[in-house]
């Protein structure tokens, strides 16, 4: 590999040819400030439009300052990252950005998590020397995402996520000069677009321009209403990230503290979406086995591969872009919706509470879950199966409002019956987890034998597209895994072309799966955080005494007392759904 020698702030540094000045500097511990730049290592996600000019540095012998993020290091370069000229330019750039910014930090949803606010603080900006016109765009509210475009700094990170990573193409820079704005086509609202509400734009937005719809107020009202029984379910990925909101290291599992906090907040029953994940495995796994058996018996009509259907952004994606494939995904509802449906029938009957008086709240790492819970097919006479879907961040906000010292809480356990789950339910939170959980159950039912090992390392990892063949006692089952909708699109195009080699495919919209969801604590471009959350999920699985969904005793009981069997008529009615052509 060709190496390049240069000096940065008088320190010599050697880097591989092709490295940027920014990368060279970070290698020797010089942290050049950046704003628009973002790179998620190992995920092929990079945004460097060189637009904000915050990272400018002085290069000896060059007339103009150079943006470090997109200037290649060259032999003999002498770089200064904090000369007076550089610092003045950097401050001017940020002051100019601030001169067209609402600066309502005190009441902004992003306050404390805002890269622009941090930058102004980092540079010690105490006065804005420029005054001028302010952008006056209308606010756009959708079922999940709010766009407050006056706060946009045109960093284009959202565009990178929406176009390059997710291949949705909803967002683009439109208009010119002062009027320029990131917007859907024809400046229509998000809910008139093909937006999947995956929330990856929100996950990377450096300011408060893109945030989630905040439903904490409604949940507080429900909790204080004596006529309501309020129950809560928590998605698997939440426990691996919530601690970050309270200053704990990424990857700290806070399952027990989270349960304790929810109980302090006044929820009448604290349940686990993982329970519903186990239920999903029985329904979806049975569907997989039925399709496989039919296929092997020579049925030409059977649709393979089967695709997972837990991820609401993915569901909306194929409804918009691949409606002709809508009978290929499993008809199983997502764990969130299965939970809601069972809670408002089976559990409501058990505790003798009327449906209208039972409020189901879910804590999700996801913004699309807000949209999913609002889909009309998931309600009965206008009463939704899931009333409110809060993000991990919103839960942290509730915990703060409840004056709860999260870190000092003692661990507590979920309530029965819908709080009991297996390791298989837990790993739903990461890419590869749903299919691994399905394999654990499908294998044992298909072969009638105990699995010799439960950890399918071949299904794990962070690569965007993975494949593995699992030997079902002589029958090879080909499995595909995609996270990120751009990767999913590739697998769908193979299916369309008739060249897909897979029997089953797991798809999650967000990079890393739900651990990297749009509702999780902000990662600020650090992909290590996602990997740590993933490890936390697998360690929770390891520590579970039961690690196969079909061995969950409360699931067995649910079938005995209520549902009958997987894919029974009742199951179909309560746990399955149909998809729509939204093209």
């Amino acid at each position: 590999m060709e190496m390049i020698n240069l000096t940065i702030d008088h320190k010599p540094v050697v880097v591989r040819k092709g490295a940027t000045v920014l990368e060279a500097a970070s290698g020797i511990g010089i942290d050049i400030p950046t704003l628009c730049y973002m790179k998620l290592e190992d995920m092929n996600i990079e945004n460097k439009p060189g637009g904000c000019r915050v990272c400018v540095v002085e290069v000896k012998g060059r007339r103009n300052l150079a943006p470090a993020c997109c200037t290649e290091a060259s032999e003999g370069m002498e770089i200064s990252t904090h000369s007076i000229r550089v610092v003045n330019a950097r401050r001017t750039v940020v002051e100019l950005i601030l001169s067209d910014h609402p600066a309502d930090c005190l009441i902004c949803a992003k306050s404390g998590n805002c890269d622009l606010q941090d930058m102004a603080n980092h540079l010690g900006i105490r006065k804005i020397h420029y005054q001028g016109e302010h952008s006056m765009y209308r606010e756009d509210t959708s079922p999940a995402i709010i766009r407050e475009i006056n706060k946009c700094i045109m960093c284009r990170r959202c565009e990178t996520m929406c176009n390059d990573v997710q291949t949705i193409g909803v967002l683009s820079a439109v208009n010119r000069g002062f009027q320029a704005v990131v917007s859907p086509a024809f400046e229509m609202n998000l809910d008139h677009s093909v937006c999947t509400y995956c929330g990856q734009c929100v996950a990377v937005c450096p300011t408060g321009a893109l945030t989630e719809v905040d439903e904490t107020g409604a949940v507080i009202r429900a909790l204080s209403d004596p006529t309501k029984t309020v129950i809560v379910q928590t998605a698997p990925a939440v426990r691996a990230a919530l601690g970050e909101e309270f200053g704990m290291t990424a990857g700290t599992l806070v399952t027990g503290k989270m349960v304790a906090a929810l109980r302090r907040l006044g929820f009448d029953y604290v349940f686990d979406t993982d329970f519903a994940a186990d239920l999903t495995i029985l329904e979806e796994g049975t569907e997989l086995l039925n399709r496989l058996s039919a296929f092997m018996a020579g049925d030409q009509q059977v649709k393979l591969p089967i695709l997972t259907s837990c991820c609401p952004a993915w569901v909306k994606f194929f409804e918009h872009h691949f409606p002709e494939l809508k009978d290929i995904p499993s008809t199983a509802r997502s764990p969130q919706q299965m939970f809601g449906s069972i809670a408002k029938t089976y559990f409501a009957d058990k505790i003798k509470v009327k449906r209208e008086n039972l409020v189901v709240v879910s804590i999700m790492p996801c913004l699309a879950k807000k949209y999913e819970s609002s889909r009309p097919e998931f309600s009965v006479n206008g009463n939704p199966d899931v009333d409110y879907a809060l993000t991990t961040r919103e839960l942290a906000h509730l915990i703060n409002l409840g004056n709860i010292d999260f870190k000092s809480l003692q661990n507590e356990d979920f309530d029965a019956p819908m709080g009991e789950s297996t390791g298989a339910g837990v790993i739903f939170g990461t890419t590869g987890g749903v299919i691994e959980a399905a394999v654990r159950t499908a294998y044992e039912i298909f072969t009638g034998k105990q699995l010799p090992r439960l950890d399918f390392e071949e299904l794990r990892g962070m690569e965007g597209l993975r494949k593995a063949t699992i030997d079902f006692n002589g029958t090879p089952i080909n499995i595909g895994i995609a996270h990120g909708l751009g990767n999913a699109r590739k697998l769908l195009e193979e299916i369309q072309a008739g060249t897909s080699e897979f029997h089953a495919i797991e798809i999650m919209s967000c990079p890393g799966g739900c651990i990297g969801g749009g509702g999780q604590p902000y990662h600020h471009g650090d992909s290590e955080i996602l990997k740590k959350r993933q490890r936390a999920i697998y360690s929770e699985d390891q520590n579970k005494s039961i690690r196969k969904s079909h061995e969950n005793p409360y699931i067995t009981k649910l079938y005995e007392e209520f549902l009958g069997a997987p894919l029974s008529e009742k199951s179909h009615h309560l746990l399955h759904t149909k998809y729509f052509d939204r093209s």
């Binding site: 176009n163 193409g169 683009s172 439109v174 208009n175 086509a185 229509m188």
Partner: protein
């Protein structure tokens, strides 16, 4: 978005232009240029067809249409009037000429008269600085235009329209 229904013929024209450029997304600007040349403007529905044909997002097409002032989503009049706002024309009074057109036609820049006869736009330097200030009506160039001449220019085209109508 007030929807318009494109005729099969119009869709055919758009598809033809796209395929002339091998349906390549990188040819977007050329495609938009040609389609606007044939249809006069680029309404949302046209942009949607182009996006589909070139396999790029509608948002991106709209982004390009709104970036370049040459592209328009509003139908141009039968006689598009363009006032040059280049430096030479500007210093020789193009702005007063523009004001006079606005006053007489009762439209703003980027709009068309209700009868669809005229539309009014500005452009940057047509390379005829010696004739500044310059006004284009359709393809015809008027040089050394003063506000006093505006009335006659408009009348010329009103009459052309009228005589054409008579002879038809």
């Amino acid at each position: 978005m007030p929807g318009i229904k494109l005729s099969e013929k119009t869709i055919g024209i758009i598809k033809q232009v796209c395929s002339d450029f091998r349906n390549e997304g990188s040819e977007l600007i050329n495609v938009l240029h040609q389609v606007q040349g044939k249809l006069g403007y680029l309404p949302a529905e046209v942009q949607e067809v182009i996006a589909k044909e070139l396999n790029i997002s509608v948002a991106k097409v709209y982004g390009v249409v709104t970036f370049y002032s040459f592209f328009t989503m509003i139908p141009m009049g039968e006689h598009p009037i363009s006032i040059c706002m280049g430096t030479a024309c500007y210093v020789r009074g193009a702005e007063q000429v523009l004001s006079e057109f606005k006053r007489q036609l009762k439209v703003e820049v980027g709009q068309s008269t209700p009868d669809g006869k005229f539309s009014l736009n500005c452009l940057r330097c047509v390379g005829a600085c010696g004739l500044a200030p310059v006004v284009l009506v359709g393809e015809k160039v008027f040089g050394r235009v003063s506000p006093q001449m505006v009335k006659n220019i408009i009348a010329e085209y009103k009459e052309v329209g009228a005589s054409e109508a008579k002879s038809a």
